[in-house]
Amino acid sequence: MSLILDVDHVGKTFVQGGLLSRREVEAVRDVSFSLDAERPEILSVVGESGSGKSTLAAMVLGRLVPTRGRILFEGGDVAAIRSRAGRRAFMARVQPVLQNPFEAFNPLKRVDRYLFATAANFVVGGGRTRAAIEERVDRALVEVGLTLAEVRGRFPHELSGGQLQRTAIARALIPEPRLLVADEPVSMVDASLRMAIVNLFGALRDRLGLSIIYITHDLATAYYISDRILIMRKGEVVERGAARAVLDNPQHPYSIALKQAVLTPDFG
């Protein structure tokens, strides 16, 4: 069995320095998991603030270097990528989806700029003509339920949070990556638009065979969409397994407390 991603006993320690205080914080402690190449899935990493879930995401994306352990992407150590070409090849395979769609685009620039830049920089081979790039961008937008005509020439404030987040996902799809890392992708999106994004992740997994790491604090959407789940607390994974099995019947005391704290809108 081949692995897309192999996170192997990874840890990260930060030195936290206010002006007058200084201490070491172990943000992630001995975390291991892997994603199988044959079986695309949505892996939820669930935890409260300070659980280390965002630090873990940053390490998978190569934005932070682990203090301990290794992260192998398609067999290569992510932290060992140094060259520009290496970084670019990695970014073509692993793309992020950011938390706040309103902040994810430069408010002074048109949003299509990022789509075209991604297409021009990552799509190699014969497809670098203007027409081919536009076709590629439009294809990615159609994948997320938009069209180039809707997005072209628009500034971020002219689009809704849901549209922006879908545009951001479309941009991430352009290089045809194997893995998306989505850090709280719906926490800033309004409730009436949120489920469209969550459903989109499921569709991308099923249609494109994409693996997705879904970082969230929301157990309900994790239950709704994900295949596997890791529950993190203070940098450690306290429980893991098939998402529905774990959340239907949590074992670890923390997971139980977490599930019990979820408010349920049920009457009768």
């Binding site: 320095g17 206010g18 205080s21 200084r22």
Partner: protein, 334 residues
């Protein structure tokens, strides 16, 4: 507490760097030029009368030694540091053989006194008015006061001092416009002398305050209008807390640390202003000394004054830097 020590040592490192860069700059500016200070000094001396060649030769040897100009550039550089560390800045040329350090020490209290009092007044005045103007945004009176001070702020120290000199020297001569005290005054300590010194310091201090207060006012007003939109101010207003209390304990208290940091960062500029203002009013401090040293071609005095200014300002910045975080409880070690 150890974290605070680390912080202090880091700021101390910065202090050493400032002194190192500043003094090195001073050294290399004076030593990398084609101008020969010894020849310059000899010319300056011989301007006053004739001297026979032998005496000039002797003078050249002595001066070379006194200025620490023997050996190559690097040796001179090291010697410069070691002399500086000993506080030995060489003899003054214009008041030979009085040591430079002694002349500077005589002028220093004037500058320090003028600078501290003018800075305190403009800091307090500007910040008070700025906080009020930022909080009571609709007050006509405060807007007017702000406008007046802000209008003065861009005028260079020299020009404003010059205008005051004309106003109070020729148009309405009520204040002494030159010197630090009456020429023929009895310099033994007495109330009259103190009053006289105060009277002489009014115009220079006024020039400094008029230029300085405006920038504190604009800074504080901007800070205040940011702070009033903070949640804790909104919350206090919803809590029925009185406006004077909000202004004092919520707004000003939170603006203090950034304003003190600003004070530390602008000390160099404030020192410039003080020195320039002294020159206009013939105030007997560092500035006037510097100018007369330049005119007299007094090499070691100019060098000494420049070095001392750099070290002095750097130390003052260091002190404000390490004290201001103590006012912010968030910065304290837990």
């Amino acid at each position: 507490m150890t974290a605070y020590l680390i912080f202090i040592s880091r700021r101390f490192g910065q202090l050493l760097l400032v002194v190192f860069l500043g003094i090195s700059a001073t050294f290399f500016i004076t030593h990398m030029t084609p101008v020969d200070p010894v020849a310059e000094s000899i010319t300056a001396i011989t301007n006053f009368g004739k001297a026979d060649p032998e005496a000039i030769l002797l003078m050249r040897k002595t001066l070379t030694e006194l200025y620490g100009l023997q050996g190559n550039l690097f040796e001179q550089y090291l010697q410069f540091w070691s002399r500086l560390a000993r506080g030995d800045l060489g003899p003054s040329l214009s008041a030979f053989p009085t040591p430079v350090s002694q002349i500077i020490l005589r002028a220093l209290p004037w500058t320090v006194g003028l600078m501290i009092s003018a800075t305190l007044i403009s800091f307090l005045l500007g910040n008070t008015l700025g906080a009020l103007a930022g909080y009571y945004r609709n007050s006509r009176l405060l807007k007017l006061a702000g406008l007046a001070l802000i209008g003065l702020q861009p005028i260079p120290y020299y020009i404003l001092a010059f205008i005051l000199l004309i106003l109070f020297g020729y148009v309405w001569p009520v204040l002494p416009i030159t010197g630090g005290y009456e020429m023929n005054a009895d310099t033994s300590f007495s109330l009259t002398l103190v009053l006289d010194i105060l009277r002489h310091s009014i115009l220079p201090a006024m020039a400094l305050v008029m230029v300085g207060a405006g920038s504190w006012l604009t800074g504080m007003r901007a800070l205040t209008s940011n702070i009033v939109t903070e949640d804790y101010v909104t919350f206090a207003e919803l809590g029925g807390v009185g406006s004077t209390r909000i202004l004092r304990s919520y707004v000003v208290r939170n603006a203090l640390v950034p304003q003190l940091t600003g004070l530390a960062m602008s000390l160099g500029a404030i020192f410039n202003g003080t020195v320039i203002t002294e020159i206009v009013f013939g105030y007997p401090g560092i500035g006037s000394l510097l100018i007369s040293a330049v005119h007299a071609g007094d090499y070691s005095l100019v060098l000494g004054l420049a070095s001392l200014s750099i070290v002095g300002v750097a130390i003052a910045v260091f002190l404000i830097d390490i004290l201001s975080p103590l006012l912010d409880p968030r910065m304290k070690a837990e």
